[in-house]
């Protein structure tokens, strides 16, 4: 895989870098543990439906979102628990709200109506969680359009999988973003499989960014296990979008350690392949870097203990929260208070 050179858009001193990495490590670990906990809850049938875990890809959402300002926007797919948590800064509140959503509780981040695939967090400008492959790409262009229309310098990050590249909506969204020079960064999380299908069976040109040329988009392509590197590379694109309104198509090569969803045994991947990728697990990698940078074992251990506690708290909160209310079936279909959804 030929990968581009790193830019230095987010160069920072060693101390700052350690602080940044420590926080990103904390967020990645929180996401990892939340995902593991939801997998257990799924096994206990406390969660149902489709559950798509981001385990193995944490460095992508955490690193990319760390390159944003709080007022920037994020739009994602159904594999978005990590993105949702990262956009809110990995607080205990968001961890609780995400877990409660998976449990279908009224305290959930989407009040139990959206579930695993449709988490939304308006206060933190996380605009969802979408289940139609590629269908959210034009939405992201629209959010970026709104920023430009209003003369605001917020940037929109749009995440999608390698599988959405052949979709019409992907093409139309990128075409408009390039034509109108919208402040958006498209991030393809290329985990090399769309469900059970390896990349080479869906894309004639495996370098996703080769398409940038047809859309007048800037391009960048790199491995996604080093969260600092992800942040650095995405930051460069974000600045281009913010300062020069030049949109970018980024491809991050990554890997999901679990099946596509809980129901997928993942037989289509060899044990060797998975293990090889697990060598590059972004979470321990970040931990090793932190130690190299002089972070004390104690600091790390207590951080990990804190996360363990937060995740337990989140599960307990979800478990003890009231179920989504019956009224909520009708409450949120129409915004206009004069519209009665039961009299159409």
């Amino acid at each position: 895989m030929e990968l581009n050179q790193s830019t230095d858009a987010a160069a920072s001193t060693a101390a700052e870098e350690r602080t940044t990495l420590l926080e990103m490590y904390r967020q990645m670990l929180l996401i990892r543990r939340i995902e593991e906990a939801s997998a257990r809850a799924y096994a206990q049938s406390k969660i149902g439906g489709f559950l798509h875990l981001v385990i193995g890809q944490e460095a992508v959402c955490v690193g990319a979102i760390a390159a944003l300002r709080p007022t920037d926007y994020v739009v994602a797919t159904y594999r978005e628990h990590g993105h949702c948590i990262a956009k809110a800064g990995g607080t205990r509140e968001v961890a609780k709200a995400v877990m409660a959503e998976l449990f279908g509780r009224s305290t959930g981040i989407s009040k139990g109506l959206g579930g695993s695939m449709h988490m939304f967090d308006a206060p933190h400008r996380f605009l969802g969680g979408y289940g139609i492959v590629g269908g959210h790409v034009p939405l992201a262009a629209g959010v970026a359009f709104a920023s430009k229309y209003r003369g605001e310098d917020d940037v929109t990050l749009c995440f999608f999988g390698d599988g959405s590249v052949p979709q019409g909506a992907f093409h139309e969204g990128l075409s408009l973003a390039g034509l109108w020079k919208l402040p958006v960064v498209f991030i393809c999380e290329n985990n090399q499989y769309s469900m059970g299908t390896p990349l080479y069976r869906t894309l004639a040109v495996e370098d996703v960014t080769a398409r940038a040329a047809g859309y007048a988009l800037e391009r960048d392509r790199f491995r996604g296990e080093d969260v600092l590197e992800v942040r650095r590379r995405v930051a460069a694109a974000v600045e281009r979008a913010r300062k020069e309104q030049r949109p970018t198509l980024i491809e991050v090569i990554t890997y999901r350690f679990r099946g596509h969803s809980m129901s997928d045994p993942g037989k289509y991947r060899s044990k060797e392949e998975v293990e090889q990728w697990m060598q590059r697990d972004p979470v321990p990698l970040a931990r090793r870097r932190l130690v190299e940078m002089g972070t004390s074992e104690d600091e790390l251990v207590s951080l990990e203990a804190a996360i363990k506690a937060e995740v337990q708290e989140a599960v307990g909160f979800a478990d003890s929260s009231p179920p989504a209310t019956d009224e909520s079936i009708w409450q949120y279909i129409y915004a206009d208070p004069k519209t009665d959804p039961q009299r159409m």
Binding site: P138, L139, A146, A169, L176
Partner: protein, 327 residues
């Protein structure tokens, strides 16, 4: 009251709302420099500039999605579809995104977006360009569907649709654009979900919307000579539907004919007929009649198109049947 065309009324509604609210903008194919494929946006580019009157490439799924995304963060887009035949390439955006985002997010977002453009047959346009697809959209919870039949309704309803905080599918009559009528000046809005009696009558109710309301009025005229009095009810909004207005009329006339340009199977007419038959079962003196397009893709030849579409003859025959005036 000034007289103007349905086209001008729509233009006035959009222009007034854009003057009133800087978050309102118009986007679509040929809406700007070309002044609109059907000239509905005539002069708007000159008045509001390229920032707010935006020409798009032929990428309906793309710019419909752009409209939805921008509405999520507070803009109020008017998305013009050159015709609703082309909305089918963007219907996933409308059904899976616009209609569902508010509910999926537990009410965190409003979707104040209007999808507007002409619908229906317009002469020699054949199967792909002559469709009345309102029943597809009316079926979907989360959407509102509006179909005005007069210039005044066009203005009042479009202004309301633009101010409405929910996604509105606003289907205009391609053959109504040049129709003239009186239109109130300035602030004039019509609430969604409120129908209108286009003509009072006592012997039979005809429910019809958009282009078909005109046909219903012609039928009413024709019957007047024979001393038969037809009431023409135009729901104007299909979703939500002004069921009470229809029921009140039927309780008065005891007879109902539904007239629609769309196909019959699972059409809006089927829904109205069913509801009336349930809720006014004992008030009906005859089975509800439906007059729809024939259940066929539209042929190109004009004389066949005229056979496929509801005609004055077919409407009058249906009315006669409900009045047992068979001859």
């Amino acid at each position: 009251m000034p007289r103007m065309s349905y086209r001008e009324a729509l233009n006035q509604a959009m222009s007034e709302e854009m003057e009133r609210d800087p978050n309102v903008f118009l986007m679509g194919e040929e809406v700007g420099h070309y002044q609109g494929a059907y000239k509905v946006s005539q002069g708007m580019l000159q008045k509001f500039g390229e920032r707010r009157v935006i020409d798009t490439p032929i990428a309906e799924a793309g710019f419909v999605g752009v409209g939805i995304g921008s509405a999520m963060v507070g803009l109020r887009p008017i998305i013009e579809l050159m015709t609703f035949n082309f909305s089918l390439v963007a219907i996933d955006q409308i059904i899976n995104n616009a209609a569902k985002i508010r509910q999926m997010s537990g009410g965190q977002f409003k979707l104040p977006v209007v999808f507007r453009g002409p619908g229906g047959a317009a002469g020699n346009l054949a199967a792909q360009h002559s469709q009345s697809l309102e029943s597809l959209y009316t079926h979907i919870p989360g959407l509102k569907v509006v179909m005005p039949s007069t210039p005044a309704d066009a203005k009042g309803l479009l202004k309301t649709a633009i101010r409405d905080d929910d996604p509105v599918v606003f289907i205009e009559g391609e053959l109504l654009y040049s129709q003239q009528g009186e239109v109130p000046e300035g602030e004039y809005t019509i609430p969604l979900g409120v129908g209108d009696i286009k003509r009072q009558g006592k012997d039979c109710t005809v429910v019809a919307w958009s282009k078909m309301a005109k046909l219903a009025l012609q039928a009413a005229e024709a019957f007047e000579k024979d001393g038969v009095s037809i009431e023409v009810v135009d729901p104007r909004t299909l979703r939500p539907l002004d069921e009470q207005l229809i029921l009140r009329s039927v309780r008065k006339t005891h007879r109902l004919v539904i007239l629609e340009e769309g196909w019959p199977y699972a059409g809006v007419g089927a829904e109205i007929a069913y509801r009336v038959q349930c809720k006014a079962f004992d008030d009906l003196d005859a089975a509800v009649e439906r007059v729809t397009a024939l259940d066929a893709p539209m042929p190109y030849a004009l004389h066949l198109e005229q056979k496929v579409l509801p005609s004055l003859d077919r409407v009058m025959a249906a009315i006669r049947r409900t009045l047992y005036l068979e001859e």
